[in-house]
Amino acid sequence: MRYMEIDWNKAWAEETELWNQSAGKPCQGFWEDKNSAEVFAQKDIRQHKKRLEKTLSLLELTPDMRVLDIGAGPGNLAIPMAKKTAWVTTVEPSPGMNAVLDDQIAENRITNITTIRAAWEEVDITLLTPPYDLVVASLSLGMPDLKGTIEKMNQVCSGQVALFWHAGIPEWEDMPRALWPDIFAMPYHGGPKSDIIFQLLYRMGIYPDVKVFSNDFCEIFESMDSAVSFYARRFQILSPEHQPIVEAYLKEHCKKDDRGLVHEFNHIIMKLSWQLGDSGCSSTQGEKR
């Protein structure tokens, strides 16, 4: 195969589609109501503290900055960013996540956040107030058209665009990767990774800075039943006949401590960022090879 003929945006779209099929539904639909979003938000702050701190430190925020946060979720990045910058605009489609974000804004008495309740692909940019000094998307690249997503980000940015995404195989994919071939006679697809983003950016004439950091977190369950149910919800493709298989896997891979049943994961995150108007970013000059 001639590598220059690969359409990396298509590769991204295909991997995203396979990812959705492997789970039985799109990943974006997972935490949609306010209760689930609250669980996520609390868990995110508790168990992802290290990741959030690392992410914030890599963003080099300044008090005069205006920030666009795409896929803001419950605001775990947006809230601390608002405290360190002039203004934050969030883009988030999930009503549940937005409800938690509203609570967070009120609770923290934040007055410099604008919330836009839509998916980035659907946002009418005439409703935004560009240009932003920083456009960030942290672990929120569920969109099938990544090229369109990036072009739209560049359009509204005059400073830095920063994408945080997975590199390598995160450990939460270990279970479906181990079980799916036996259960469904097909491999599990856990979604596209940072290599495709890099290839796509390069082809777009964008040569990004890459920073790497590792992160670990865990899921904590009060019992084996709630652990099995958690994964049965996440992977709707699973049926009750798979219960013994899932349970056997969890028995082997979770450890018990005073918090309950603990499933630990390690994963590696890449920050891919570029400066608009920089010689390393010639996105306005069309595709480059």
């Binding site: 639909g29 709630s226 099995v228 009750p240 349970e247």
Partner: protein
């Protein structure tokens, strides 16, 4: 045998089950009926403790399933999946014998009694002649029969079946439902989900009907499967005919003037209509 009380479950913001309550008695063959996407599979998953509901309880034999360990659960309820992928070429008799797992001694070796129960289950389903055939070489319909035999060998008071007739030809569909009737007659409670309103009407003692708003009705098919009910579920897509008290669902476009019902599967002492 099965009591579902005020069960509610959501996938994210999407509420799939809302305040579902019903009961199934010993020896009752009950159809779980409703259009796609109304939560039949989710209800099964909740009843089998595969999903933990947001609220509500499920009791089997009076016992709250939240307090039942897996082995005890497997002695009370058997589950027959819709399609079963099996990577390893087990023979039919090995597959059926697996139904005995929750009853085995601590060395997990099946004894003479277990083999006898498995043989009887194969006889009941009429698949004894296949006992040495590899399961993964059977047709979809035959595989379905094996999975049902496995559930019978499990000797539980309650069996769940997910779309049991979906892979079967017409004759085998009739055989299947008659087999389920015979199993129910021996005292087993059966909950089978199905898309076919005629199967509900012809073969089942009762039906639980779900639609997007929740539980629509629970009762004998003769009372539940009315024109009003079918209109509510399917718009005006089908007509309900009443033949000597038996309800038959036909397409709404069917011309009654030229259509002759010659016979229908005789679960009710072989009544034939002309």
């Amino acid at each position: 045998m099965l009591t579902v009380n005020d069960l509610t479950f959501s996938y994210g913001r999407q509420r799939v089950l809302k305040n579902i309550s019903f009961q199934i008695r010993k020896g009752e063959l009950c159809a779980l009926f409703g259009p796609n996407g109304t939560g039949k599979t989710t209800l099964f998953k909740c009843c089998l403790k595969f999903l933990v509901p947001d609220s509500g309880t499920v009791r089997i034999n009076g016992k709250d399933i939240r307090r039942l360990p897996p082995r005890q659960m497997a002695r009370l309820v058997a589950y027959v999946p819709q399609a079963h992928h099996c990577a390893f070429p087990f023979t039919v008799s090995q597959m059926v014998l697996m139904g005995r797992t929750p009853h085995l001694n601590r060395f997990f070796t099946p004894g003479a009694k277990d083999r006898k129960v498995a043989d009887q289950a194969m006889q009941t389903l009429g698949i004894s002649h296949l006992s040495d055939t590899a399961y993964n070489r059977l047709s979809g319909g035959q595989q379905q029969m094996v999975l049902i035999a496995r559930a019978i060998a499990q000797q539980t008071g309650l069996i769940f079946l997910d779309e049991p007739a979906a892979a079967l030809d017409f004759k085998n569909q009739i055989t299947l439902w008659q087999t389920l009737q015979a199993i129910a007659e021996q005292g087993t409670a059966i909950l089978a989900c199905t898309h076919d309103p005629n199967h509900v009407s012809w073969f089942c003692h009762s039906t639980v009907v779900l639609d997007r708003s929740g539980l629509l009705a629970k009762g004998p098919p003769g009372q539940v499967m009315t024109q009003e009910m079918m209109d509510r579920i399917y718009g005006d897509a089908c007509r309900v005919w009443n033949i000597n008290g038996l309800k038959i669902m036909v397409p709404g476009t069917m011309d009654t003037g030229t259509t002759n019902i010659v016979a229908f599967p005789g679960n009710r002492k072989g009544i034939h209509h002309k």
